[in-house]
């Protein structure tokens, strides 16, 4: 078995479809400008359309066009909000595939870095078990809200961004970038579960968050250990984590901004070993994307264009049918 695999090589059964990571990558670097956002989604429209075909997201695409993700994922999740169940399902599914990739990332570290210190291997092995349980937990939670594995396309963006070939960078990306994002997302889900009175979701998230904190702590310790006496490598690890954090902020959807879909779990991150300096950096870089106002304005235009295209297509089909009938 070779060392280091490409994210396209993550094995899946026939229920799953892939989403091209390009859309997530571009989304993560969008500026606060309506026209640019609209153009980007226009450009990716065909790709997004083909990735949702046959999934539970297809009706959303039909209704909102290629920016349906902005409507569903980048908005704060509150009980009673429109399409609450569907959006909760999409979020749980996105976390479920994220957990799968975290399982794959942590366990690959055991194979990819055979000469690493024993304590590191122990930590990665423990994480493999934890992430495996998280996958199982999210399968149950998806069932709880009425969706299942493969209902939505999977982006392997998390694995792609976080899995570096340098173990110091790998733990910086996976255990601090990805796992840090997980802390933010789970804290937010606990908030949602409390507001909606969902005790099952709340308790499951409570435990999962405890595990994720442990994983961030692994990362905090191993970045230090791997880069001890090597300031150059430490800098590379920090830069890499910053890059991952920037991408995982999804254009400000995860940030400390008032309009953020997922706020940053500052207290949890402190407990997991993020320094005040790292946290203020994160606040700064995660808030850089387009504002909610920009996204709303862009979404409206994208939806109008999408519906117009659909209407045009329908007219064209009718015209052809008419021609065939006369012929």
């Amino acid at each position: 078995m070779k060392r280091f695999i490409h994210h396209s090589e993550l094995a899946r059964d026939q229920r799953f479809v892939r989403q091209d990571n390009a859309a997530s990558t571009v989304l993560a670097t969008l500026p606060d400008d309506v026209d640019t956002v609209v153009n980007v989604f226009d450009q990716f429209s065909d790709m997004i359309e083909s990735s949702v075909q046959g999934t539970a997201a297809e009706p959303l695409f039909e209704e909102y066009g290629p920016a349906f993700g902005l409507v569903t994922l980048n908005e704060p999740l509150t009980p009673g909000a429109p399409a609450e169940r569907q959006r909760l399902a999409m979020r749980l599914h996105a976390i479920f595939v994220g957990e799968m990739q975290a399982l794959e990332g942590a366990s690959r570290s055991l194979w990819d870095f055979p000469d690493s210190p024993w304590e590191f291997k122990m930590n990665m092995a423990r994480q493999a078990w934890d992430e495996a349980r998280h996958v199982q937990i999210f399968e149950k939670l998806m069932d709880h809200v009425g969706c299942k594995a493969g209902d939505y396309p999977e982006s392997t963006f998390l694995f792609e961004c976080a899995c570096s070939e340098d173990p110091a960078l790998r733990v910086a990306g996976v255990n601090r970038g990805l796992e840090g994002l997980a802390c933010d997302v789970f804290r937010d889900l606990i908030r949602f579960a409390e507001q909606s009175g969902d005790e099952l979701l709340k308790q499951a998230m409570d435990y999962v968050l405890a595990d994720e904190l442990t994983h961030v702590r692994f990362g905090s310790e191993w970045v230090k250990e791997f880069t001890r006496g090597d300031p150059e490598r430490f800098k590379r690890a920090q830069d890499f984590r910053r890059e991952v954090d920037k991408q995982f902020s999804l254009g400000g959807a995860r940030s400390d901004r008032e309009d953020a879909a997922v706020p940053i779990a500052m207290q949890d991150r402190r407990e997991a070993g993020f320094t005040e300096e790292e946290l203020s950096e994160l606040l700064e870089l995660s808030g850089e994307g387009p504002s909610r106002k920009t996204l709303m304005a862009a979404t409206k235009i994208i939806r109008e264009r999408h519906l117009a295209r659909r209407e045009e297509k329908r007219r064209e089909e009718k015209r052809q049918q008419g021609q065939e009938a006369t012929a």
Partner: protein
């Protein structure tokens, strides 16, 4: 009335009045001293076992991303952790066997043949080879380890080397669970004659390689002779 003596004095008539008692004599302690291995050879075996557990952990860790069947992915996640804890407790036994404080992470293959066997177990890579992956690991390596661990526990000094026996028993208990789980997975995956044949062929190939090198401790065949 003679006063009850609580503590022995220096003279023969100054003994306490307590009757001798040994928990081990009720019932009688039938264990005998002496086993097949001295400290040095047991330490070598522990390093050999640790080698097998550490590589099991690493191989399964590498496979998880390459296996499409979701319950197999998650099931292996747990076994990765169990293999890691097995390697960990084996390592912690080493300083107790006079290998030095730094020996906790020492793994050692019994010979080059076993190291090559482990690499052969790890060979199947693509997502269509779950049967080959699991058959090499759970039809061949795991049952072999269970057998050798149990034999070692039976053959070592029951009293002097009891800590090794205890940890091997714990490892075997979990390993049996892994084997049962994987057996069920393989039974379901091999739902055609052709797939059953693939499983058998892979197991036969791995078994002959394992036998040729003498197994995890290099003494397969020797011990049974």
């Amino acid at each position: 009335m003679t006063e009850q003596r609580m503590y022995p004095g220096t003279g023969a008539d100054e003994r306490t009045t307590f009757a001798p008692y040994s928990a081990f004599e009720i019932p009688a302690d039938l264990r005998e001293l002496h086993g097949r291995y001295d400290v040095e050879s047991m330490a070598r075996r522990v390093r050999n076992f640790r080698y097998a557990e550490e590589w099991t952990m690493m191989i399964l860790g590498g496979w998880i991303a390459t296996i499409p069947e979701l319950p197999v992915k998650t099931g292996l996640g747990k076994i990765v952790w169990d293999a890691a804890t097995a390697a960990d407790v084996l390592g912690k036994r080493l300083p107790e066997l006079r290998c030095g404080r730094k020996s906790v992470a020492a793994s050692e293959s019994a010979n080059d043949g076993f190291a090559a066997f482990v690499q052969s177990v790890a060979e199947p890579e693509t997502p269509d080879l779950t049967i080959e992956k699991l058959a090499g690991m759970f039809d061949v390596l795991k049952p072999h380890l269970i057998e050798v661990y149990e034999r070692t526990a039976r053959e070592t000094d029951y009293i002097s080397d009891a800590p090794t026996i205890e940890l091997l028993e714990d490892i075997v208990r979990k390993a049996r669970r892994h084997q049962a789980w994987a057996g069920e997975v393989l039974d379901r995956l091999c739902d055609t004659d052709a797939k059953q044949q693939r499983r058998r062929a892979r197991a036969a190939e791995m078994t002959s390689q394992l036998e040729a090198c003498g197994g995890v401790a290099g003494d397969l065949g020797v011990a049974n002779a």
